[in-house]
């Protein structure tokens, strides 16, 4: 298991290095760069001020030197200083990490708690009413814009029924979390229901299931013992991929509900042209994705003894 862990972490390195380079290139090399981006509001900057700012940010140094400096600092966990607040970006991010994680995990919990059982039940009775309704629901869930769903939830449950607060983080309690978590969780829920159904249907047709049945194993035991375990590999893959990218997808939900997560920080930083903060946020999203995927790979080994990395 330890060997697997070392290998997987090793595999992250080239991807992470490429992402760091890409983030640097995006915000440094492209003509016009970030200094003049978003500039269609007609404002122009005093050239003297611009020059002073360029010096301050170190933008007057040669590109390669800047890259080495940036990559070196990033590797030791220094994401630079925010242009806006003059605080270290790591501190800004640290303050947003928990709300982001909380929202992402809550959404994933909603998705797993409903999506997996739904797909399972649908697969056991293909063509039934349950199957049809849940699969129509799933394709609809995949087609819903998250922020629109969020707006509708906000309207019905917060403004009309007044059951839940309409936006904000509150004191960090559960009531503020429910609506954003549902808005974010519906599309992974739909995808999980579809994947689980497909995976279970696949396994139900496998030879070992037919063998188990023909030797007189009860249907209940076949399903719990053989089908569930084997379908789990594909389900875990989907959970991992969804979970990994969900934090990034949360941007719109966070903006809609004024949730103080990394997505809100990213969007606000974009509008304030706070490059170090923007770069830092993107890096955290990528790191989160890579870490979750590594964990998923480890989970495979635990679930499926046939999978070995050696």
């Amino acid at each position: 298991m330890l060997l697997v862990l070392v290998r997987r972490v090793g595999n992250m390195v080239p991807t992470l290095a490429a992402v760091i380079a890409l983030i640097f290139v995006l915000f440094s090399v492209i003509p016009g760069s970030f200094m003049s981006g978003l500039g269609d509001d007609g404002r122009t900057m005093d050239p003297a001020v611009m020059e002073r700012m360029r010096k301050e940010m170190g933008l007057d140094q040669p590109l390669l030197e800047r890259f080495v400096k940036y990559a070196g600092a990033t590797l030791v966990g220094d994401l630079g200083t925010s242009f806006r607040t003059r605080e270290p970006v790591t501190k800004l991010i640290a303050g947003r990490l928990w709300p982001s994680l909380k929202l992402t995990m809550a959404a994933m919990l909603v998705a797993m708690a409903i999506g997996i059982p739904l797909g399972f039940v649908a697969a056991l009775r293909p063509g039934s009413l349950v199957d049809t309704v849940s699969m129509v629901g799933a394709v609809s869930g995949l087609s819903l814009p998250k922020f629109w769903l969020g707006l509708l939830l906000m309207y019905f449950f917060a403004l009309q029924l007044k059951w839940l607060p309409s936006f904000g983080y509150g004191d960090g309690g559960l009531t503020h979390l429910i609506l954003p978590a549902i808005a974010l969780g519906v599309s992974p829920l739909a995808l999980l229901a579809r994947t689980t159904r497909a995976a279970v249907l696949d396994v139900l047709n496998a030879d070992f299931v037919r063998t188990a049945r023909s030797k007189g194993m009860s249907e209940r035991r076949v399903v719990t013992w053989h089908v569930m375990r084997n379908a789990l590999v594909l389900v875990v893959t989907t959970v991992g991929l969804q979970f990994g990218s969900l934090m990034g997808q949360a941007v719109v939900v966070e903006k809609l509900f004024s949730w103080p997560g990394l997505g809100s920080l990213l969007v606000d930083s974009v509008f304030q042209r706070d490059i170090p903060a923007v770069q830092g946020c993107i890096l955290v999203f990528v790191l989160f994705f890579l870490v979750i995927n590594t964990l998923v790979d480890l989970a495979y080994v635990a679930i499926d003894p046939r999978i070995r990395y050696g």
Partner: protein, 273 residues
């Protein structure tokens, strides 16, 4: 060939959206940008304003109709770009193998590791809002699925008899890839492109909702919803119709994609899970 209910319903919804986009100047009731009239602000749906009016007194129906032009332009054009990039990279990687394959695989892994909405958002931040930026941002960031499928197909097809025959006849590598391999993998690629178009339309709406896509006053379904948030307590209809338009268009594409998959790809190699 049986088309199935998914294909019909999905294709129908998408056809309606396309028709609305094309005929917008004729079926819209008012000019979507200029006809603001504060005296008509926030009127509920009526005979004069079928979907009601927004906070500036503009007819929401006309804005939704014109919004279809932006959504579908972005959806179609950037998805074509994604398909071309993905298929070219995947096809050449699968056919040639070697260092090029490793490079393309590495690139795909990087693309998959950056959530595509975040990547597009970063590009929009650099290029600034607008239609052209949207086409670039969304046309460069969603090709990894097409690439994976094209690569897998090229790997499995390249040892087929007809490809070997073409090689013996002296066909060059590009001629083999694009005249022999490509036509035989079009089905799965079209499926991925259809599903991807839905994703692109959702991404455009999200970016415009965040204020980084199409900027007001031009009517994009996403930016209309961002205005709607402010008035949701008093004028819920402002948020209902643009969202419904996004939902039905994307639903159409997803159903169509599912339907086409059942036709082209019975073993479901393009299952996106």
């Amino acid at each position: 060939m049986r088309l199935g209910a998914n294909t019909w319903i999905g294709g129908g919804l998408f056809a309606v959206a396309l028709a609305v986009a094309v005929t917008a100047p004729w079926i819209a009731l008012t000019d979507p940008v200029m006809d603001a009239n504060l005296l008509n602000a926030e009127l509920p749906p009526s005979r004069e304003f079928p979907f009601g009016t927004d906070a500036q007194g503009r007819d929401i129906y006309s804005r939704v109709v014109y919004g279809a032009q932006i959504s579908l332009t972005v959806g179609v054009v950037s998805q074509i770009a994604n398909s071309i990039i993905g298929v070219t990279l995947g096809l050449t990687a699968g056919y040639w193998g070697g260092w090029w394959d490793d490079f393309v695989n590495g690139l795909t892994n990087v693309m998959l590791a950056i959530p595509s909405l975040i990547f597009a958002l970063a590009i929009m931040a650099i290029l600034g809002p607008g239609l052209v930026s949207l086409l670039i941002a969304l046309g460069l960031t969603n090709w990894s699925y097409s690439c994976r499928i094209a690569r897998a197909q090229a790997l499995s097809l390249k040892s087929q008899g007809y490809v070997q025959a073409a090689r013996i006849l002296g066909y060059g590598p590009f001629r083999i890839m694009f005249t022999q391999l490509l036509p035989n993998m079009l089905g799965p690629i079209i499926v991925i492109a259809t599903l991807g178009m839905g994703g692109t339309i959702l991404a455009e709406a999200a970016l415009s909702f965040l204020g980084l896509g199409i900027r007001p006053p031009f009517p994009s379904w996403g930016s209309m919803l961002s205005d709607a948030r402010e008035t949701i307590a008093v004028a819920p209809w402002v948020s209902i119709f643009p969202g419904l338009a996004i939902f039905l268009t994307v639903l159409g594409l997803n159903l169509l994609g599912d339907g086409l998959r059942d036709i082209f790809d019975p073993q479901a190699t393009t299952r996106r899970a």
